[in-house]
């Protein structure tokens, strides 16, 4: 069953950015959204997360149309976005970053503690840095914190924008592995990526170009050759 259904999504800033994008992501999948800069990937996930309002089209989460709802409505429904550039709260400690991540669950203290333990299990490095200001963490640690913070709200759908940007290949791989574990634990994931290193972890690949979806495939359809032809090949033009 599809957890996320996007149908003919159109978004514009001053000019149209998404020109009618449609795709589905099944519950429990990890989907990877590829595309060049300016293809509309970030706009797509930000619109799903409620940061942007679509001009037209539908976004359904488990059958409910959520298009245009703000994050304050969507986070309690289980949608969380790890934004591009991590955007951790630099002057707050790691612990307080996580605490704010659990804002919509704040009424239930024991649940918050459980989530925190889970995040530390995924990212043991964070537990060693609990009282450190987030701004003083390394880039990789900040990415872990950003993902951990998003997990605190107990999402059904985790959107990650540019998970590996600025990370060493080894660190990127670590992050992808943890994302895979998160996915294995039942969270549906959509990752925006430019790094093909994520492919081994992907159940579904979506490729965007100039505001439209030009490729969508699962399972066997995901082959490096195809992808190189349709994605990297075009990148060389």
């Amino acid at each position: 069953m599809a957890l996320v259904e996007v149908e003919d999504l159109r978004v514009s800033y001053e000019n149209p950015v998404l020109l009618g994008v449609s795709f589905e992501v099944e519950e429990g999948e990890t989907a990877v959204l590829f595309g060049l800069n300016g293809a509309g990937k970030t706009t797509t996930v930000q619109t799903i997360a409620g940061l942007l309002k679509p001009d037209a089209g539908k976004i359904r989460l488990g059958g409910t149309d959520i298009a245009g709802r703000p994050p304050s409505k969507l986070v309690p429904m289980g949608v969380a976005l790890v934004p591009e550039g991590r955007r951790v709260f630099p002057a707050l400690s790691v612990a307080n970053n996580l605490r704010l991540g659990a804002w919509v669950r704040r009424a239930n203290g024991s649940e918050v503690d459980e989530r925190r333990e889970l995040v530390f299990e995924y990212f043991p490095r964070l537990s060693e840095r609990v009282d450190q200001a987030a701004g003083t963490l390394s880039g990789g640690e900040q990415q872990m914190l950003a993902i951990g913070r998003a997990l605190m709200s107990k999402p059904k759908l985790l959107l990650i924008d540019e998970a590996s940007l600025g990370l060493s290949p080894a660190l990127a791989k670590t992050v992808f592995q943890v994302v895979k574990r998160i996915n294995d634990d039942g969270v549906t994931v959509i990752i925006v990526e430019q790094n093909v290193g994520v492919l081994p972890y992907a159940d579904r690949v979506l490729i965007m170009e100039k505001g439209t979806l030009i490729f969508s495939g699962v399972g066997d359809e995901i082959q490096d050759a195809n992808l190189r032809e349709s994605y990297l090949g075009k990148a060389e033009e």
Binding site: P71, A80, P83, R87, L92, N96
Partner: protein, 318 residues
């Protein structure tokens, strides 16, 4: 490293205060010490609101004083008809209402504008507020009575301290502590801090940043209102724009001294500004300075802090 730096601030603060106290006692300016503490607490109160807005929206709020003046005006109008205590509550209510209205009509439309734009907008609010007060009530001074009439219950080092002043001092100390706790320990306080650092990320946590903004401005207006209704009656009365004209610059100095982001720092900064003003007026060595030695000395202190320790006494570097 961070903690070391924080402690360094506390050590410097303690050293500055100890030195100040010793110099004042040694030079026989002990009265200035008391005068500074009791008058500076009013600056500290206003500074508290400035710091709150600064922490949450990164802007210096020129209208902070006007929350106080409007509250005093309301107190003045109401106290003819209802008991003082109710008039006081009404005054604070009007101040909070003004804070919410300013947030809705001025701050929110400029949410994504550069901070300088918002800064100028708050100055506009202050000028408009003063103009409205003159329009309704003429530019005359008006008397307003104290909540607590006793003047001479306490005398410290030769200076009499009125009950009203004790109320101001007590309220300030309690509020500074409460606010520090609020920001460090509560979810809402953390959310306000978070929204000042990363508004988009705060939004993504499911927090309505706009609602936070309303809460912050209401809270700041409450602080401004309290500063007005507690400090102004001690001076006997008020005229349009009283807090903006007489309190805003010293309060701003106090906030910067304290580090712009530190609530206890704002309180401390207010007291230091008050002491400096009092000393400059009474110490013989400043007698030959033409103009206003008090104002001059406050600015000298401010400049030294900006140059030598731009993060203020209790502020965090960076």
């Amino acid at each position: 490293m961070d903690r070391l730096r924080e402690r360094q601030g506390q050590v410097i603060t303690a050293a500055v205060i100890t030195l100040l106290v010793l110099v004042l006692l040694a030079t026989g300016e002990k009265e200035s010490l008391v005068i500074g503490v009791i008058t500076g607490s009013a600056y500290g109160f206003l500074a508290l609101g400035l710091v709150l807005i600064y922490k949450s929206s990164g802007v210096f709020n020129f209208a902070q004083g006007e929350f106080g003046t409007v509250a005093v005006y309301t107190l003045y109008l109401l106290h003819f008809d209802v008991p003082y205590g109710f008039a006081l509550l009404g005054a604070l209510g009007v101040a909070v209402l003004m804070g919410v209205v300013v947030e809705r009509l001025v701050v929110r439309p400029l949410f994504d504008a550069p901070r300088v734009t918002l800064l100028v907008a708050t100055a506009g609010v202050a000028l408009l507020s003063i103009a409205v007060q003159i329009w309704f009530g003429e530019a005359t001074a008006r008397p307003v009575g104290r909540a607590l009439p006793t003047l001479d219950r306490f005398t410290v080092l030769g200076v009499q301290i009125s009950d009203q002043r004790l109320l101001l001092l007590g309220a300030l100390a309690i509020l500074a502590g409460l606010l520090a706790w609020f920001f460090n320990k509560t979810n809402l306080g953390l959310a306000i801090l978070g929204s000042s650092q990363e508004p988009t990320a705060t939004e993504l946590m499911g927090i309505s940043v706009k609602r936070l903004s309303t809460i912050v401005w209401a809270l700041a207006a409450l602080l401004g209102g309290l500063a007005g209704v507690l400090a102004v009656p001690e001076t006997g009365g008020f005229a349009p724009g009283v807090l903006t004209v007489a309190f805003l610059i010293p309060a701003f100095t106090a906030a910067v001294l304290g580090g712009m982001t530190s609530l206890p720092g704002a309180f401390l900064g207010g007291v230091i500004v008050g002491v400096v003003e009092a000393v400059a007026t009474s110490a013989p060595i400043f007698e030959d300075i033409p103009g206003s030695p008090g104002t001059l000395l406050v600015f000298v202190v401010l400049l030294i802090v900006l140059v030598a320790r731009p993060q203020g006494l209790l502020g965090k570097a960076g």
